[in-house]
Point group: C2
Chain length 156, copies 2
């Protein structure tokens, strides 16, 4: 391994998939009738936030692999089962797509979705961090609903 | 650069410091009288969460450099000015400490704080992700207080 490595692409994918497993448990923890309706402070529902997350993870990865960027298309789930099905489908797609990205590209500057310019690793971290950010908001919604959220440290 | 690199240690630090700049703006955005008192759903105040963040970032980095782990000691700030001062001091310490970590160590398995075992890069990501997670909760608190949070995408 190079002495200039913080982590390998394989480790980055495993880290991301650990977050996706946790986010899936947060979706599951929501009462069905609150997932697309409950919010605090005029914010979006957690279900709507997850539809945003779906618009970012696989599309970012597909765009990186193909270098053809589609337009921003949020997920269309309106039920817990549809959201979980879309989530699981994208988890599998992500694992299939990720190894197609040549590692040497992660430090390249690219323009994702024909709009967001940055180093490729920073663009991917943005997608992961946005998931963590909104999932943290989902934790507050669950607490406000009297539901114990899944442990943050469990990623398996 | 090695073909097995997702990102370099320098990029990881810059990524983290970008998050710390955003978290600082979230602290600043809180009304002074709500920072250590307001919460939703029986959770901790955002100020208390930030005292936890202070107990993790520099102590994790100092422990990595020295390989001597102190006990968990949350920050003791009880006012916005004290919290911002502690935050700024640790931002500077982090930048000074980080280059002392030999890059080859990030893939090593270590036990941080004599309690948490994992690859070093995952342990650091845990600290960063915990900051993002709680800051996302701070965004909900701000919205519930009628305060517009700083833009998530601004890290400069």
């Amino acid at each position: 391994m190079s002495s200039t490595t913080f982590m390998s692409p394989e480790a980055a994918l495993e880290h991301w998939q650990g977050h996706r497993r946790l986010t899936r448990r947060v979706i599951e923890a929501f009462p069905e009738d609150q997932l697309f309706s409950f919010s605090v402070g005029g914010m979006r529902s957690f279900g709507e936030m997850c539809n945003e997350l779906l618009a970012m993870a696989v599309p970012m990865t597909e765009g990186t692999v193909s270098e053809a960027w589609g337009s921003y298309t949020p997920g269309k789930a309106t039920s817990k089962s549809a959201l979980l099905a879309a989530w699981d489908a994208d988890t599998a797609k992500l694992s299939a797509l990720w190894p197609k990205i040549p590692a040497a590209r992660f430090a390249d500057t690219v323009t994702a979705f024909d709009a967001y310019t940055g180093k490729l690793h920073d663009l991917f971290l943005y997608v992961i961090d946005n998931e963590i950010h909104h999932r943290g908001q989902g934790y507050v919604y669950l607490r406000a609903l009297g539901v114990e959220p899944p442990p943050f440290y469990e990623r398996g």
